[in-house]
Amino acid sequence: EAGVAQSPRYKIIEKRQSVAFWCNPISGHATLYWYQQILGQGPKLLIQFQNNGVVDDSQLPKDRFSAERLKGVDSTLKIQPAKLEDSAVYLCASSPRTSGSYEQYFGPGTRLTVT
């Protein structure tokens, strides 16, 4: 079974530029998550999708971050414009369903450096 795929793996941009990350979850997984992991910290949930709908985006900085999952499969997370404090690893995870299934499977992450 293929795991969660993410691209790119690394990205370096200047502040005020825009960037987009892509995630393809494990086949059949209805729920998709985006996390931000700042160096030395635990991951912080940004947004959760169930199929193509948003379950929770309360921790997503909506003035600059946006995310979509149009067809209920893969997802894109965008930052526009980026700030220095956005430097982090962005992790995508998926799980089979919203409740009852108790594991999230994480992708390799995209390491973003904002200069």
């Binding site: 729920t31 998550y33 910290q41 991951p43 169930q50 929770d56 995870a93 499977y105 994480f106």
Partner: protein, 113 residues
Amino acid sequence: ELKVEQNPLFLSMQEGKNYTIYCNYSTTSDRLYWYRQDPGKSLESLFVLLSNGAVKQEGRLMASLDTKARLSTLHITAAVHDLSATYFCAVDPRHGAGNMLTFGGGTRLMVKP
């Protein structure tokens, strides 16, 4: 706001020794997860604990959950170098509303020969 605290934040131990990592959380939950992260890598699921008194073991690692104390422990038995990594606990307080995990800050474990 849910808070998840791990201690210690950093642990250096000798091979063959035993030690315990603690995870305290601030709200009612009966779902707790342990993950391992190697440097530059993603998170690997270790244990899923779903009820009070749950205990799970895999190799030299054993995890337990006390929901009344809001405490989970990850016990390491006879540590080996391969266990060197950062360990995270994560709590899901929203029963039935979907796995909204709040992670602790992590415990960086270094096992020395």
